[in-house]
């Protein structure tokens, strides 16, 4: 029933565009001619397909360009092949603003030109590699030819504002707090923000390039370090993709443990964020209470799973840690304790009028903008976008438990605060349900080297939202291409929208309420 829209859509397309279907379940691949690339996006947009991810790869002398769309929990990968001599493709960013930075990334890394792109400035490219050279092309050596000192990227053409009393504030890349680096350029009048432009890419570590040639185990380790706070999420997405390519399924017990790990990661991050949001409006009580609760939570991670942030617990084919019966009791007791603590602390916050004054109406993100930019996770859900992979495209173990997806529609910082609070509660229930699902069994399925050229698309709901991970293997169990799309890639652009008409001193709390990953974005 669910895939009906796909059949209808294909029928409708047949008048216009010829589509070659490769059905590699569970994800359909639709291949079209490159000249229809933009036209397809227009029709897809009319059908309300959501733009989920875009990436390219070089195969022999040609380039394969992909876009992943989603509707009603069904994903399709749109694919085209373009020649290697002067690669060019009509841009989809004119139709889908969400595709904007992704296409610029592909342009910088592969040298594929997106014609008609509304913003053809470079994005991931700073000054670390020369013009007319493209790191993800196969002839580009992983070591590159770096200069002794990479010069700063000085000539990025930021948008200017002119007029009486208009001034500019450049911030970063090194920020005042203990946070990741990036540059923000504000245009302001008095305290009011007229415009904000993000300039990211500072923590680009060449993850896609150094992934090539890795073994599955080594790739899982790397995926676990795309964004330190999402180590479970990215590792799971990458492993799902690899397992799909290798055509193996993981044992039920491993799936349940993965679920528990992912929900624990979600809770740990939400605890940290709620405290930090309050701290950014100088409400230190909440920061102290929530960092305390987070610390207790992380200590239990270490006690039960052997790592505070749960790194390297997920491995290709299963998990590297087990949960004993005693551990289950410990976890359930901990959940009871946390619920009690939260009922006290959250109530104290809810009744605090000074906090209310700062969080309500600030950082407003309209539902239409959230939808147009494909905002994900708690950012989308605070602005009426209900999508959640666990609910809409369920995968093991979420296909066996009830997943509650909280929704808020006010779109302000308070909404993003309350969505996190509700998600903590939902995840606590989920962990309890998952523990009840734990049956005896193996933790790992034996690995089987995938066939040459086999590919996989791993999609999971990380704590920030949907993660899409693409993997292609070469002939001898090595990675030929890895592209992880962190939810931050889609959430960062909406920060530029939600700060408008706020005051400059509220930028930190606006930013924290979104909490994008710099590392996950820059790769």
């Amino acid at each position: 029933m669910k895939a009906d829209w796909a059949t209808d859509f294909l029928n409708q397309l047949s008048a216009d565009i010829s589509v070659a279907q490769h059905n590699a379940p569970p994800n359909a691949v639709w291949q079209i001619e490159s000249r229809h690339w933009q036209r397809f996006a227009e029709l897809a947009c009319r059908q309300q397909l959501r733009w989920a991810a875009g990436w390219a790869e070089q195969l022999a002398g040609e380039f394969l360009v992909n876009t992943c769309f989603e509707k009603q929990g069904v994903y399709i990968v749109l694919r085209t092949i373009i020649g290697g001599a002067k690669p060019e493709l009509p841009s989809q960013a004119t139709v889908y603003p969400a595709a904007n930075r992704s296409e610029r990334h592909t342009q910088d890394m592969f040298g594929i030109r997106f014609s008609g792109h509304p913003d053809n400035r470079k994005w991931t490219r700073h000054q670390a590699w020369p013009r007319h050279s493209y790191p993800l092309r196969k002839d580009f050596p992983v070591q590159g030819e770096p200069q002794d000192i990479t010069p700063p990227d000085m000539d990025y053409p930021f948008i200017k504002a002119h007029g009486a009393g208009v001034y500019e504030i450049p911030v970063g890349p090194v920020h005042a707090g203990i946070i990741e680096p990036g540059h923000f350029r504000f245009q302001a009048v008095g305290e009011l923000i007229l415009n904000l432009e993000e300039r990211l890419g500072y923590v680009h570590k060449g993850i896609e390039k150094i992934a090539e040639g890795r073994t599955p185990e080594a790739l899982a380790r790397l995926a676990g370090r795309i964004s330190g706070d999402t180590t479970v999420g990215h590792c799971w997405a990458a492993c799902r993709a690899m397992e799909q390519a290798a055509e193996i399924s993981i044992p039920p017990r491993a799936a349940v443990i993965r679920g528990i790990l992912a929900e624990r990661e979600r809770i740990a991050n939400h605890l940290g964020d709620i405290g930090a949001i309050c701290n950014d409006v100088a409400f230190v009580f909440a920061q102290m209470q929530f960092t305390r609760l987070r610390e207790q939570w992380l200590r239990n991670n270490a006690n039960v799973f052997g790592h505070r942030l749960l790194m390297d617990r997920i491995i290709p084919g299963g998990v590297a840690c087990d949960v004993s019966e005693n551990d289950c009791i410990v976890i359930k007791q901990e959940i009871t304790r946390l619920r009690k603590e939260l009922s006290e602390v959250i109530t104290a916050l809810d009744l605090n009028s000074s906090l209310e004054d700062r969080l309500y109406t600030a950082g407003f993100l309209a539902p239409e903008i959230a939808a147009a930019f494909s905002a994900l996770g708690y950012v989308g859900r605070a602005s009426g976008q209900r999508f959640d992979v666990r609910k809409n495209a369920p995968y093991a173990p979420y296909d066996r438990v009830k997943v509650r997806v909280p929704l808020e529609t006010q779109g302000d910082i308070a909404s993003r605060f309350w969505v996190r609070d509700k998600e903590i509660n939902a995840s606590l229930h989920l962990i309890e349900d998952l523990i009840d699902q734990l049956a005896d069994g193996a933790l790992v399925t034996e690995w089987r080297a995938p066939k040459a050229d086999s590919e996989g698309l791993g999609i999971v709901e990380g704590w920030r939202g949907e993660i899409v991970s693409f993997i292609r293997f070469d002939g001898d169990n090595k990675i030929a291409r890895f592209y992880p799309r962190d939810p931050s890639m889609l959430n960062w652009p909406v920060l530029e929208k939600l700060v408008l008409n706020n005051i400059v001193p509220d930028f930190p709390v606006c930013n924290k309420s979104l909490n994008g990953s710099y590392s996950g974005n820059d790769l």
């Binding site: 030819e145 990479t150 960092t291």
Partner: protein, 169 residues
């Protein structure tokens, strides 16, 4: 408001005693400059944290140093917003090439005498990322490093032990 005060009273003080590391442990942490700092800083240091390309894992654990369990400020260690106010740069990550100049400038902006602590496996030896077209690898490849604290990421306790070694209690 009463709820808030009740919660504060009920929570009490959760801060834990940290055992000072033994001499052998200090040596393992590679801290030979301890006595210099004792002399110059009288037991207090101001730290500027610089993420030069990390995955943010190390930052999460450095943040934890300020939670009520560790309360790092009681040892006279505090984080400052500008390198110009700092005695010590706490640098994480492999140094991405895009951050190389920013790190060099931050180092120059820090007044002498200054120390650099490389935090986490990536900062210590390049970690999972190593040296590539996009990464300079270890912090020592870019600026002089005095102390290293390995771990992926190092636990708050490992961080405290590494930091405590820098000052006289």
């Amino acid at each position: 408001m009463l709820r808030l005060f009740r919660k504060i009273l009920k929570t009490g003080i959760v801060t834990e005693r940290v055992k000072r590391p033994g001499d052998d442990e200090l040596e393992r942490l590679g801290i030979e400059i301890k006595r210099h700092i004792d002399k110059r800083f009288s037991g207090s240091i101001a730290i500027r944290e610089v993420d030069a390309g990390s995955c943010n894992g190390c930052e999460l654990e450095i943040h934890a140093l300020n939670n009520p369990y560790y309360d790092i400020e009681r040892f006279g260690i505090h984080f400052v917003a500008s390198p110009r106010h700092a005695d010590v740069l706490l640098v994480t990550g492999p140094v991405s090439r895009h951050m190389q100049t920013a790190l060099l400038r931050t180092y120059t902006a820090t007044p002498d005498p200054k120390w650099v602590i490389a935090v986490g496996d990536c900062a210590v030896c390049g970690g999972e990322f190593g040296v590539s077209y996009a990464s300079c690898g270890a912090v020592a490849n870019v600026i002089p490093v005095d102390v290293t604290i390995p771990g992926c990421p190092p636990t708050p306790l490992a961080l405290i032990k590494g930091l405590l070694g820098l000052i006289k209690k």
